[in-house]
């Protein structure tokens, strides 16, 4: 029979997990590594709060999914509705719009923190996520876009994701095209659903299949753009030209991208770009076959131009092979077990050399076995000793 007291205290709500050992230390390292890269590029750290007022009902997403994804509750102090943050980007944009309104532009800000969402997508079932990112506010020029993409790939490379595939898109491209077709609202909704699912069958029946070239526009960035120039209507000429410039600039900067970075484009893509307006990108880790970052150009609530990126801890852990379910119990190669006879001063010396020193609290009969039991790869018996491998 199972101990019901244990399951009561150990069971967590779905989408929430205890991160142990490697998982927790990986998230910590990701946070410090990525933020220090952002700092090196001149991005200043901000820490917006966990919750904000949310009296106004959230506007439903345009795709009609009508899902509200923030946890909401009543503030016992103000009696107003609060929402726990589900995304830090709008918070940073709000900061730029309010408290940092007078700060010189372009404003470079970075952040890292936990976000919570009620509706986890099936494949990303985590409801608590570590979000790390940077925003460049007051500029959405080509130079700013290139800076953000290069910064994102540098951060990912520093985090250990060495090969990247950068997938470019234009967040409202299909909307522009749809608007020019003057479809009925029902047809337009169908067209959007069909585009999201790359559903040729349904899209072929809307406006005599006019939108079908959008679905073909996926692949190597250069080829996609060349094809699109010929097949897309005139209303889209401007976005296509802008994307072409972005590709040319990125190709020119290929020395600053990790080696073998692939540049692809998918002009039908609009997922995860709900607030972006214009060029947007997703970054995939080919080795782990997973998405690891996204970003693009957007407007703050006050209408200021901005661009930025974010990455999530759970996706990066997946890309780095630090799986949620697998608990590693291998000995820590950097850890040394110091027997109780070793002085605190000697332990401090070793720590200064970079060792992780686990000092014995009592005198076990076999210090070597004790080192092994505590997952240390080395041991040390006295002050005169050096760490010895097991």
């Amino acid at each position: 029979m199972q101990d019901s007291r244990l399951s009561d205290s150990a069971l967590l709500p779905s989408g929430f997990a205890d991160l142990l050992r490697r998982q927790a230390s990986t998230e910590f390292t990701l946070r410090t590594t990525i933020l220090s890269r952002c700092a090196a590029w001149g991005y200043a750290l901000v820490r917006p709060p966990l919750c904000e007022f949310a009296d106004k009902p959230p506007s439903p997403p345009e795709d009609g999914s009508a899902e509200v994804s923030a946890f909401r509750f009543l503030d016992p102090v103000s009696h107003r509705i609060l929402a726990l943050r589900e995304d830090m980007t709008p918070q940073v944009a709000r900061l730029a719009d309010s408290r940092l309104k007078q700060a010189p532009r372009p404003l470079r800000l970075c952040y890292a923190g936990e976000v919570l969402r009620t509706n986890a997508r099936q494949i990303d079932h985590e409801r608590q996520r570590l979000q790390i990112g940077a925003e460049l506010i007051g500029d959405d020029s080509l130079a700013a876009q290139v800076e953000i993409i290069l910064l994102t790939s540098e951060c990912l490379a520093a985090a250990g994701v060495k090969t990247l595939s950068v997938d470019l898109a234009w967040s409202r491209l299909s909307h522009l095209w749809l608007d020019s077709l003057s479809l009925s609202p029902a047809e337009e909704a169908n067209a959007r659903t069909a585009l999201a699912a790359r559903d040729e069958a349904t899209l072929g029946q809307i406006a005599k299949g006019a939108l079908l070239p959008l679905l073909q526009a996926a692949g190597t960035a250069r080829e996609v753009l060349a094809q699109a120039q010929a097949a897309f209507p005139k209303v889209l000429a401007e976005p296509l030209a802008a994307l072409e410039q972005l590709v040319a600039r990125l190709e020119g900067e290929s020395d600053s991208l990790p080696p073998e970075t692939r540049l692809t484009a998918d002009l039908a893509e609009s997922r995860d770009f709900s607030y972006q307006t214009g060029p947007a990108f997703s970054i995939f880790a080919p080795a782990a076959r997973t998405e690891v970052g996204r970003g693009g150009v957007y407007r703050t609530a006050q209408g200021e131009a901005a661009c930025g990126f974010s990455v999530y801890g759970h996706q990066l852990r997946r890309a780095l092979g630090v799986q949620d379910e697998v608990q590693t119990l291998e000995a820590n190669p950097n850890a040394v077990y110091a027997a109780a006879a070793v002085s605190f001063a000697r332990c401090a010396e070793l720590r200064a050399e970079g060792w992780s020193v686990v000092r014995g609290l009592d005198k076990p009969p076999d210090p070597v076995a004790e080192a092994k039991r505590l997952n240390c790869a080395h041991y040390l018996l006295s002050d005169k000793d050096k760490p010895r491998p097991l």
């Binding site: 099936q122 494949i123 997973t290 998405e291 092979g321």
Partner: protein, 226 residues
Amino acid sequence: MSVFLQAQEQNRLVFAVPRGRILRALRPALESLGFAPESGLFDESDRRLQFNSEVAGLTFVRVRSFDAATFVAFGGAQIGVAGTDVLDEFRYPEIYAPLDLGLARCRMAVAESRETASQDDPASWSQVRIATKYPRLTRRHFAARGVQAECIPLSGAVELAPALGLARRIVDLVDSGATLAANDLVEVEQIREVSLRLIVNRTAFKLRQAELLPLIDRFRQEFASS
């Protein structure tokens, strides 16, 4: 490195096909398109689950129809076949469904016993109890017309539910209507048309286009007319 990652790193493509009725409908196409999967794929008494094919690096897996979509959504399989019934039930955002294969066409419908139907006015419903394999799709369908559906999830023999008093009504696939008739049920409302789709995992589509596009093209040529 974990076993999970090793499996992912193998450079093969996995094609998920639903077993049973759908696989029988799909067989001629899979054979005429030159994939030539091992014949065991079509032999349900063959207990293996993975089958090689003539196309280098392409493996077929035979799974339950609901699972074909799940394997593709989570990237266990990169490409597959699933009915629009299953796709609509799960609405996995990770799945692209480019082609309508036009096979195994049928419809999703609400049915109830002949006796209930004779006195029932579907327009007056405010809350209904429904036995179904598709609880999410059912709830969404009824919510859209202002009716709250309480679903009793079953994974088969749904037509038994009204006779045994589980629920007055069912939501299920209807092909010829013979199963409904044999259980003294009548169709009272059609929810959607159903047919088979070729499906592709979103991340695989981005990263392995060079391998996937030729496969999709083979299907496109075969099914362009349908």
